[in-house]
């Protein structure tokens, strides 16, 4: 029977017990979109992901080294990476948190849920990264 209290069916991610281990696993999930099972299922996507990851890393390293990057290029990369991450996560870690961020309720992610999650998370990560790089004087735009 469908539970009307959750927009999609509940999911229990393979997180370890213990509060710290659980938080650590969640942080890892936020930063690392791939999973072993997802990797097996999405071999073509993963091959593309490797190429994109290398290219994205190169761009970020260049940015960190102070080479010129137009703002549009950076946002373009951010956007492109986010789209790719949505695809990867839907195959690897297809779940999002439900309710308060400190709770431990998860549910299956729809495409829109994943777009919302990845877009919002990457905006925060991008902003943090930019602020950190700029405050360290490593990035001037």
């Amino acid at each position: 029977m469908i539970d009307p209290r959750s927009m999609t069916e509940p999911v229990e991610p393979p997180y370890p017990g213990g509060v710290l281990a659980h938080i650590g696993a969640e942080i890892w999930d936020h930063l690392w979109p791939w999973s072993r099972s997802g990797f097996q299922r999405q071999r073509t996507i993963q091959a593309a992901s490797l190429a994109i990851a290398i290219a994205a890393t190169l761009v970020w390293v260049l940015a960190a080294l102070g080479n010129d990057l137009a703002p549009n290029t950076i946002i373009g990369w951010w956007f492109g990476w986010s789209v790719f991450e949505v695809v990867v996560r839907l195959g690897s870690k297809p779940y999002v948190k439900e309710g308060p961020w400190w709770s431990q309720r998860y549910r299956k992610a729809s495409v829109m849920d994943m777009i919302c999650y990845v877009g919002f998370k990457n905006l925060l990560i991008g902003a943090t990264l930019f602020i950190a790089l700029k405050s360290l004087g490593l990035l001037v735009l």
Binding site: M1, P71, I75, F79, C116
Partner: protein, 737 residues
């Protein structure tokens, strides 16, 4: 037929928006928006060969070359064969690069009469998207016209006049507050800069400093540590050159009149010799260049001319240096002083300057836009103030003028207070929604609706039409870009209502979802739904309809598409994104006024509001990009609305949901929910909610008491008490989880 009619209206609205975007191209060509100026405008001595000086200084037939520091030109008229001074012209960017809302300055040509009154103002170039489409550029021209005839030394501010405080108020442009505040700053700084140089305004006289001489022999590091020697470095990328670890220029400077500093830099003999050359009220500072190849004296410097790369500013007074104000500095006596490749001593010959007060050392440069090659004026400054221990009696008390944003907060303190109280009240009322919904029933929702309708009316009248505080997707785009590239608190603080509103929106979206703002406080959303409710109350209910769920579930994605298109376009052109953001009817409705805009905009608003008579919030559901941008984080709101397991089969709430946010399984989509709370009223209504009604009937029939309804939406179960305590039944609370 109703469906076809609704679709036809929606399509018309979309086509209208597209038409609006298309028709703006010719308008753009005729305005100063991103107008192309000759590169010489920023650099040529003959400024008036490149800009229409005579338009801002009526009667002038010839003009001098740029002179003074900051630059201005003199305008002359021929009278009986002789030249007569008829005023001055100043290019705003020669004085200040104060950015407007777009982050770029409004480049303005300003004419002044010989006695210091504004004679003419012309906008040469601006980058304000709102003036391209949202508000006619003529509004800024009209705003500028308010300065004509006013004196450059007047206290002119945006807002109402306050004669008791000697403040002249100017009418702002509705919806472009930040732009006009920046423009006022530009106008007054430019006028004052010329006024002080030509003797229209008297320079401020500051009491001279009395120095404390401890007799110490200071080394370089100590002076740097104590702040009496300071560094100003400009990196290549700051002037539009290739990024490099080597500064474009690195300068060190300090104030030589102080005996300890002077002796440390020049040695006892050198310093005494310097002081003997200075008259009363004259001041000396040293400058050395330790890195970079650019000369701080200026490559174009010639004898008799002005050093155009450096300047000192104290308060509103600017001090520039001519060749006679320069002395050679051959070496530094202080132990630990760095090697340098250029040096000099500059004399300030004005009693307006005082070493006791803070001042700024300014390096003047040009930033080159690598894409267009255009040069823009830019300055880099560093504040210098002798430490208290170097001054008799310590540092004097200096009352710095409030920042423009601070003045706005002070002048509108009452309205800001009321608005903050309103936002707090909405949050408190919604936080107590459980108490309100329990007092309501399906037939009597007034305990909830009294608050909701009151907030709608306040939102429309006070927030929308009164304060013009209608949040917009353009702000989201601006914030998105600012967050990634250049966050300026001042930019956002200048409009206190929008600033507070966004704090409210961000907080409440994370706690409850976007519904509280969209459903209770958005001025346009409130207007739209209020029209729907009024139409229902006056007998038009039979004409009201909602789209079938199948169509709703397709069309609701349109707003996300609109949002992502705007976001993508903003990456390439914020101006174009602002134009396309006209899909929001907010500017027409509240900021500019429905009858102050071209008919397509008014028609668009009329169609949306007209459609609202028959359909609940059509714009909010299907088109609003702001709603879409808030819906996305609403996925992760902390607290949602309540559901029971029986909701999966019962359709009672779904049938009454005007937002169409409840699906066939009874699940609430919090991205779409407007928090009307109708379903929450039913949730605890024992006559309407089927599981409750069933239980009520069962207990009544069995003669059992009706216990209160718990947090889970069920009657608190009746549990038999232990036999030892009697046979009476007592109610115990059921787990709330």
């Amino acid at each position: 037929m109703k469906l076809l009619s609704a679709l036809r209206d929606s399509l018309s609205a979309l086509l209208l928006t597209a038409a609006i975007a298309c028709t703006t191209a010719p308008v753009q060509a005729q305005t100063a928006y991103e107008a192309k100026l000759a590169p010489e405008v920023n650099t040529a001595p003959a400024l008036c060969d490149y800009v229409p000086c005579s338009e801002v200084l009526p009667g002038a037939t010839s003009f001098s070359e740029r002179k003074g520091q900051p630059f201005y030109v003199e305008g002359y008229a021929e009278e009986n064969g002789t030249r007569k001074l008829v005023g001055y012209v100043v290019l705003s960017t020669d004085v200040t690069d104060t950015p407007a809302y777009s982050g770029k300055p409004v480049i303005t040509l300003i004419g002044l009469t010989p006695d210091g009154h504004f004679a003419g103002i012309k906008i040469l170039k601006h980058s304000e998207p709102i003036l391209l489409l949202g508000i006619p550029e003529s509004a800024l021209i009209k705003f500028n016209d308010q300065y004509l005839g006013k004196f450059v030394g007047d206290n002119i501010e945006i807002g109402r006049s306050r004669p008791d405080e000697d403040i002249i108020g100017l009418d702002a442009i509705s919806g472009a507050t930040v732009t006009v505040i920046a423009q006022n700053q530009v106008m007054m700084m430019s006028g004052a800069a010329v006024g002080r140089q030509v003797g229209i305004l008297e320079a401020t006289v500051r009491p001279q400093a009395s120095f404390v001489d401890h007799g110490r022999a200071l080394d370089w590091n100590t002076m740097v540590k104590e702040g009496v020697v300071q560094r100003l470095a400009v990196m290549p990328e700051q002037v539009g050159l290739e990024r490099s670890s080597e500064p474009f220029i690195e300068l060190w400077y300090g104030y030589l009149n102080h005996p300890e500093v002077g002796r440390a830099i020049m040695g006892e003999t050198g310093w005494r010799s310097l002081m003997s050359r200075l008259a009363e009220g004259e001041h000396a500072l040293f400058v050395i260049r330790t890195r970079g190849n650019e000369s701080f004296k200026g490559s174009g410097f010639v004898r008799g001319g002005i050093y155009d790369r450096i300047q000192v500013r104290q308060g509103q007074d600017a001090f520039t240096f001519r060749d006679l104000d320069y002395l050679n500095l051959y070496g530094l006596a202080a132990p630990g002083a760095p090697a340098f490749n250029e040096s000099g001593i500059f004399i300030i010959r004005s009693p307006a300057f005082s070493g006791a007060f803070p001042w700024k050392f300014i390096f003047l440069g040009n930033r080159v836009d690598r894409a267009t090659g255009a040069r823009t004026f830019v300055n880099f400054d560093q504040e210098y103030w002798l430490p208290a221990s170097y001054l008799e009696g310590g540092r004097p008390v200096v009352k710095k003028p409030d920042a423009p944003w601070m003045r706005v907060w002070k002048t509108r303190a009452v309205e800001i207070g009321l608005f903050a109280a309103l936002l707090l009240a909405v949050a408190v009322v919604y936080g107590n929604r459980d108490a309100l919904t329990r007092r309501s029933t399906r037939k009597n929702k007034w305990p909830v609706n009294a608050f909701k309708y009151t907030f709608w009316v306040i939102s429309i009248v006070f927030v929308g039409f009164g304060l013009l505080a209608q949040p917009s997707i353009t702000q989201v785009l601006t914030w998105f870009h600012s967050l990634l590239f250049q966050w300026k608190w001042e930019l956002f603080l200048t409009d206190p209502f929008i600033f507070l509103f966004w704090i409210f929106i961000i907080l409440t979206t994370f706690v409850w979802g976007r519904g509280l703002f969209c459903g209770w406080m958005c001025p346009f959303g409130s207007l739209s739904e209020l029209i729907h409710k009024v139409a229902e109350a006056i007998g038009l209910k039979r004409f009201q309809f909602e789209l079938p769920m199948k169509w709703h579930n397709r069309l609701k994605w349109v707003k996300y598409v609109v949002f992502f298109v705007l976001l993508a376009v903003s990456v390439f052109s914020m101006g174009l994104a602002e134009m396309l953001a006209e899909v929001e009817p907010f500017k027409t409705t509240f900021l500019v006024g429905m009858f102050n805009r071209a008919w397509p905009y008014t028609l668009f608003v009329a169609v949306l509001l007209g459609l609202s008579i028959f359909m609940e919030r059509p714009f909010c559901k299907y088109l609003c990009p702001l709603g879409a941008s808030l819906a996305m984080p609403s996925t992760f709101r902390w607290f949602g609305l309540k559901r029971k397991q029986e909701c999966s089969t019962c359709k009672a709430c779904a049938v009454g949901c005007g937002s169409l946010a409840i699906d066939e399984h009874g699940r609430i989509d919090h991205r779409e929910c407007m928090h009307c709370l109708d379903c929450m009223v039913l949730y605890t209504d024992e006559n309407t909610c089927p599981p409750l009604a069933q239980e009520r009937k069962r207990r009544t029939k069995a003669g059992l008491p009706l216990t209160p309804i718990g947090k889970d939406g069920y009657y608190i179960p009746i549990q038999p008490a232990p036999a030892a305590q009697g046979l009476s039944a007592v109610a115990s609370t059921r787990s709330a989880s």
